[in-house]
């Protein structure tokens, strides 16, 4: 019992899976969760720089308006959009809907395409 407690099985590591849409989107969900953590950290630093005053905020503005800054911000927007949309997909699964392979593949494609459209939408709206 004690040994069982200590050596509980892990999830199979990613290398053992055959690549397919469902697993790719699932891995992306986790990957975007980690990117989102970096994203919210950036948002916190944005608010902190605002608190520190105009001089400090200038540096953040310089970063945000630079090419690399824009690239990172748009990337974070996509990451949040994807995680949000795929999260809705997960909520439907939790309620017992959408498990058929055809449905799951279709909803996956819808999520992937929508995540890009939503990102474009957010930045056009800006």
């Amino acid at each position: 019992m004690d040994d069982l407690q200590k050596n509980r099985p892990l999830s199979p590591h990613l290398q053992v899976y055959k690549w397919q849409l469902s697993s790719l989107l699932s891995i992306t969900h986790r990957l975007t969760s980690i990117i989102n953590t970096a994203g919210i950290t950036l948002i916190c630093s944005w608010i902190l720089s605002l608190y520190m005053g105009e001089n400090c905020y200038k540096y953040f503005s310089m970063f945000a308006s630079s090419f690399i800054g824009k690239f990172i911000l748009i990337g974070f927007t996509w990451s949040f959009s994807y995680h949000l949309l795929n999260g809705v997909r997960h909520l439907f699964w939790d309620m017992g809907y959408g498990y058929e392979i055809k449905t799951a593949n279709l909803s996956g494609i819808v999520v992937l395409v929508s995540s890009f459209l939503l990102t474009i939408g957010f930045w056009i709206l800006a």
Binding site: S33, I40, I43, C44, L50, S65, D94, A126
Partner: protein, 111 residues
Amino acid sequence: MSNNVVKKWMLQRISAVILLPVLIWFLSIFTGLIQKDYQTVLAFFKNDINFVFSVILLVLVFFHMKIGMGEIFEDYIQNSRYKSVANFIISVFATVLPLVTIVSLVLIKFN
């Protein structure tokens, strides 16, 4: 033990559902706001509604993140001591960063 896991599972879903509209609101404003000047952004966070929603967003995002990261550690870290350390680091991070940010928001609002 299992009750605790069920609770975490539920809380992760509840925070996700509340975060949906709050995050959409935030992203639609953030993309424009981040390109604005200091005074405009300052005025935005001084506004009551924006202030409240920003605080809700920060609390829920870090709450959701902490549970989610715990799930990833559960899947991929076997050594229970390393797992505890990883969870502890995430807990500190998910408490300190939102706390400092929310205190800044309060100071911005009431200054």
